[in-house]
Symmetry: C2
Subunit: 330 residues, 2 copies
């Protein structure tokens, strides 16, 4: 990337010093035409910082998910916000299936039994179930949620459900055989496993909280690889610890990096079960990183040469929200 | 079980004290007509112990896998050996897919980063890959191996391979699209992920050792949920530690319970990667346990009433190896 940008006559500054007014980020953003950031350890591009960024024309997310950018403020300033749509959908869908299996099969306490030198199979087997025969539901059946359903199909779940604003196209639904449930609480009450695959917006923020958790089946498992703030951190931790739900896993946090005392770091249910959290990494496999780099380069190349962007990559442009491809199937 | 046996006029003795000549097991086996054991924490039924078990007529494995019984000695004594065939095949296949995903996506070090209070995504992302686009091969495409292939199908692997003594039936193979490789070393050299789903016998004992590991792709992952002795413990641990393979996971051990100093307990590759071991539990989910109990009861009911056993459940009977269903597809 550096050599390519240099060959085009641009200056390329890389930093992870981005907190506070004297940080490298806030110093250089004043002159920058282009900002590249990632959704994993995000650089929050606020209205106040945009006010100092007089030259900024485009903010590129080298990945998927641009909620670390104040999109309304970007619109007002006609700053383009673009991301590499689709580059991580498979990676995240794989992480979801992995996390469902590790929770349902009680992997984590079982592995720790081995490394701690013990062997009491019955102590971990009592929290180990098969995914076969369970009801699994996704909140959001878009590009990630649908890929999760595809991968779950041969596991012979009792039923696959989805909660979304629209029906899946008939052809797509025929391939996975899922049933839409329109009412959230009704959806929650039917699932043994709930997976969240929806974007963060005012309709999904704090969607899973102590009130909606009352509708979740006792002993269900919840997996969230979408955005941390969709689930209430304290309410989830309390539900895991009390055993109301059997576990929670995923890789997204309401603040990233998560503070050392974030309740999702050390929450545990009975017998040490039910915490399968990782740092925000599902979309950052080496395979996905290669796709991000290629996609970011394409967005920059379009920008430098005045070529139109791939529509699905554009979040806001020319002071308007672009039609976002979210929800488009396959 | 106890109430049912009592109602039939039998005495039912349960013990996990089974080591040494003064153990409860060795004391009571002298009078027992029936022995029920599990493959997870097995009671080794040796020739010497059979010599003391003058009344023993049937040894039932409440699960699948009866290699803890000396089958030749049982044949000589016309002791029937039966197991609950098929009761755990889905459970084990799920454990295999889970372990493949946790290894390829580098789950374990990522989770430990969270519980230890850290957050350096790049340190774990550098060992995280997608399963999509990888070559996955199974040693054994029988009832478990085939179910693994079925579950891997929607992950869009580059290729699914299998090493077995025969071709899959055309119909079964069409559903998963796998290719048979007849030569072991050729098979090993093509796989990014190798999963072992074969029974333990003289042809598979120590199959993966330092010599055959030379043919395995550098950085491959190996998953073994079949029997521990199929893989050489020291050679695998050395290959993980050197980084020659990226990881090893599964739940079977050459001795069970594994001794505290077994090399698979604490082996780790570079950056803490590559150990996804659990105690022998994959087939002992609560869902599988319900199937074992029902199957064991059925075997005993047949025995008590002189009814024929379900052929697939019989390992040896009337002094002969029964035709074992191993290798039968679906």
């Amino acid at each position: 990337m550096r050599d390519w940008l240099k060959s085009l006559g641009h200056e390329y500054i890389v930093t992870d010093d981005k907190e506070g007014p004297s940080s490298e980020f806030q110093k250089h953003i004043k002159d920058a035409d282009v900002l590249i950031s990632t959704p994993f350890h995000p650089t929050y591009l606020t209205k106040e910082i945009m006010d100092t960024a007089k030259n900024l024309k485009i903010a590129v997310t080298a990945g998927v998910g641009s909620d670390h950018v104040d999109l309304n403020a970007a619109n007002e300033r006609k700053i383009t916000v673009a991301e590499v749509t689709g580059s991580n959908v498979v990676s995240v869908a794989e992480h979801v299936v992995m996390t469902i299996l590790t929770l349902v099969r009680n992997y984590q306490p079982s592995h720790e039994m081995i490394t701690s030198g013990n062997w009491q199979v019955s102590n971990v087997a009592r929290d180990c179930f098969d995914l076969e025969g369970k009801v699994v539901g996704t909140i959001g059946a878009g590009r990630i949620g649908y890929r999760v359903l595809q991968r779950l199909k041969p596991f012979d779940c009792k039923e696959l459900l989805y909660y979304d604003y629209a029906e899946l196209p008939a052809e797509a639904n025929k391939a996975v055989g899922a049933r839409r449930v329109e009412d959230l609480n009704e959806f929650l009450s039917q699932c043994d496993v709930i997976t969240v695959n929806a974007p963060l917006h005012e309709g999904t923020r704090n969607l899973i909280n102590k009130d909606t958790l009352k509708h979740v089946k006792k002993g269900a498992w919840i997996v969230n690889t979408a955005r941390g703030a969709i689930c209430n951190a304290e309410d989830i931790a309390a539900a895991v610890q009390s055993g109301q739900i059997s576990g929670y896993g995923g890789d997204v946090w309401n603040v990233q990096p998560a503070p050392k005392d974030h309740p999702w770091r050390d929450m545990q249910g009975p017998r040490g079960r039910g915490n399968n959290m990782t740092p925000h990494m599902s979309g950052t496999s080496l395979d996905a990183q290669a796709r991000y780099a290629a996609g970011t380069k394409e967005i920059l190349d379009n920008f430098f040469h005045g070529k139109p962007q791939t529509p699905a990559n554009v979040i806001v442009e020319n002071g308007q929200y672009a039609t976002k491809a979210y929800g488009q199937r396959k």
